[in-house]
Point group: C2
Chain length 112, copies 2
Amino acid sequence: MPMIKRDEIPPGTLYLLILKTLSLHGPLHGYEMANSIQQSSENILQVEEGSLYPALQRMLIKGWVTAEWGVTAGNRRARYYKLTAAGRKQLQTELSQFGRVFGAINRVIQMA
Amino acid sequence: MPMIKRDEIPPGTLYLLILKTLSLHGPLHGYEMANSIQQSSENILQVEEGSLYPALQRMLIKGWVTAEWGVTAGNRRARYYKLTAAGRKQLQTELSQFGRVFGAINRVIQMA
DNA sequence: TTCCTTGCCATAGTCTAACTATGGAACGAG
DNA sequence: CTCGTTCCATAGTTAGACTATGGCAAGGAA
């Protein structure tokens, strides 16, 4: 059961995964997010650092998250990201959009 | 119930929709494909010409389809696209990939 | 000590693919 | 004849994920 990496997380979906993860598990730093997503997807989705951090930068600019430097349990410096109100709203938007689009695609590809 | 247009069909999925449509409805020209996808998605997915034709060009290059000029019922010239063996194989690949990835995404976004 | 692994952040440059905008040609209807 | 529809196609832009690469700090291993 190979992992899915390159090209296989549909662009845009990464936002949804991050937003959801933050909404569930409170302020997290990047490393935790990547691990969390990987775990809750049962090791299928693997978020590369080169995808994650640029996405977080874009989300900062969009105002979906705020960031604050802190220290981890392991005594390392880390940047903690937290959902804003706009981020929560965006999550709801993307969730319903995802359901809608996914349903539509399924209708097409399940036609007999 | 607004239609979904720009940015909302996850990139890459267009291939899947086209491959599936061709596998069901035999050789089709572009216009028919767009209509077929729109109908079978219950008007949710709308494929723009500026997305469809470039995608078909790429699929020709990849060898997933072949094209042949013909004449429509309405007596217009049209280019009929047909799945190749490679295209059928690609469809199977993308179908299973799609199920796998979207299943994983669902797991993440449905976490309580 | 020195080294190596792990945790953690970040950017530059590349690539895919969908979008906008635009063009054209042929046909039927009014 | 003009207009809307059918049908094809490309150029240029944009978004976003990827590869590759860099750095720095903590802690254990040699």
